[in-house]
């Protein structure tokens, strides 16, 4: 099989886009991490429940436990094991 058939151009493009997005995110985090200083008094909105990285922990646990097994996915959640009810 020709190598290009196993790795068609659109897949290489998607891979490049993914790598670029990842590099941009790492770069932004690193660079901005050194200069961004938001003082405590300016964090009124960052403390709001809808601005949290995990706004509803119990819902998050339920979904991360149930969704992958119901959907039948292998890589959609951040851990493995723990039982499934199946």
């Amino acid at each position: 099989m020709h190598p290009s058939a196993r790795n068609p151009p659109h897949r290489r493009v998607f891979r490049l886009i993914k790598l670029a997005l990842l590099a941009a995110l790492i770069l932004a985090t690193t660079i901005l991490g050194g200069c961004a200083r938001v003082h405590q008094k300016d964090r009124e909105f960052l403390g709001d429940p809808i601005m949290q990285r995990a706004p509803d922990a119990l819902e998050g646990n339920l979904e991360s436990h149930n969704l992958p097994r119901r959907e039948g996915s292998s890589g959609g959640s951040s851990g493995s094991g723990g039982g499934c009810g199946c």
């Binding site: 961004a36 339920l62 992958p68 890589g75 851990g79």
Partner: protein, 386 residues
């Protein structure tokens, strides 16, 4: 086996300043194969001091079966109704799962740590999992660096026709997180996750049918190492005077079984009244096929599986959630909740059915072959400040 995030989550602001509280969730799942799943759960926390908090989560599952092995309800000789073993999967149609998670958390001005122990028990599966996590804020608390580790000691003990198969498995899950506040209304996060599994990693309820009709047991490698990288961008904004937030998340996963998956999710939270919010979300998921997974086997393969989790598919789900508070006059009573939320998500998987027959490979596709697999999840939540 099921996937779940059991390592302690990053510290999040509580929805209230109460010293103890109880969250209740009720989840109802259905799919077009007739599978349903009722899952009530609660999470309790109590602050022991300004630094220490104990937590207790409990979850019950009452389930007719997981969608990848069910779908045989009332079909031919397998239509033996509930409470009997399924002739193909060997598993009970109805099953109860119960899990407990107890933990303790420490949080002192940007230095946080947590430890938890999880236990899950069901008819044919048992799991124990200790986990620890730690988070450190620096850069004037604009940057958070975190790490977590979870160990799983699982054992699958099939009953019925598949008795004797199954076995033990051990899973180590490690993750590292970097989060950065960018402005009073924005932050970004990056999480890397490595998972190593060993032992019995299969699912005996997925027998393989060869081209000549022979039924063989599934056989998978005894080890798997997976890695995932996820990025999150959270941007707040004001629509009129109301705060809203847009959350973008992407995740890339790959493992040494050559399975690759990508997830993209967007969530829009918007306050529509002083304490009432609406959340709209969309999630797309795509995965490839594991190196050894085939649509047809001749019986001579080293590894073989028909487990739906190892085959390529794409799914899309759309959902909406509304949350608000109950009247302030209820605050005087412990028995009345303070907050509520209700939501529904509808998912579609690009897996077509097998019309009236049963596929020799995928036993779950019992809906019309010109239609896609559909599923829905309803969630109701009540929160009590005690």
């Amino acid at each position: 086996m099921a996937l779940c995030a059991l390592a302690a989550a990053p510290p999040a602001e509580a929805a209230s300043d109460s010293d103890q509280g109880l969250d209740f969730k009720y989840m109802y799942y259905w799919d077009r194969n007739g599978v349903w799943n009722h899952t009530p759960a609660f999470g309790f926390f109590r602050k022991l001091s300004s630094l220490w908090t104990i937590k207790w989560d409990q979850e019950f599952d009452a389930v007719t079966g997981a969608s990848r092995r069910l779908g045989l309800r009332n079909i031919g000789r397998l239509g033996d109704h509930d409470l009997k073993l399924d002739g193909v999967s060997g598993a009970s149609r109805r099953e109860i799962r119960h899990s407990e998670k107890v933990g303790i958390a420490y949080d002192n001005q940007g230095r946080a740590a947590a430890a938890a122990f999880y236990f899950s028990d069901e008819n044919d599966y048992r799991s124990y999992s200790p986990s620890v996590s730690g988070y450190l804020d620096f850069n004037d608390r604009n940057t958070t660096l975190g790490a977590s580790a979870a160990l799983f000691f699982d054992e699958m003990r099939p009953r019925g026709p598949f008795r004797g198969l199954g076995g033990k498995r051990e899973i180590i899950s490690l993750s590292g997180t970097l989060a950065q506040v960018l402005s009073p209304l924005s932050l970004v996060g990056l999480t890397a996750n490595v998972i190593h599994s060993s032992g019995y990693l299969g699912h005996p309820y997925n027998p393989v049918t060869t081209a000549n009709g022979t039924l063989l047991i599934e056989h998978l490698p005894g080890r798997k190492t997976a890695a995932a990288l996820s990025g999150q961008i959270l941007q707040g904004f004001h629509l009129g005077e109301r705060l809203g937030s847009l959350r973008l998340e992407a995740r890339h996963y790959r493992d040494d079984w050559k399975l690759i998956s990508n997830t993209a999710e967007v969530q829009w939270y918007q306050y529509v009244a002083e304490a009432t919010f609406v959340r709209l979300r969309a999630r797309g998921y795509n995965q490839g096929t594991a190196a050894f997974a085939k649509k047809a086997y001749d019986g001579g393969e080293v590894y073989r599986t028909t487990d739906i989790r190892f085959f390529a598919f794409t799914s899309l789900s759309l959902g909406m959630k509304i949350g608000s508070v109950f009247p302030e006059s209820w605050e005087d009573s412990y028995l009345l909740p303070d907050r509520w939320d209700i939501g529904y998500d509808q998912g579609v998987r690009d897996t077509k059915g097998e019309e009236d027959g049963i596929s020799p490979l995928f036993h779950y596709q019992v809906f019309p072959k010109d239609q896609y697999y559909m599923q829905g999840t309803f969630m109701l939540g009540l929160s009590f400040d005690l």
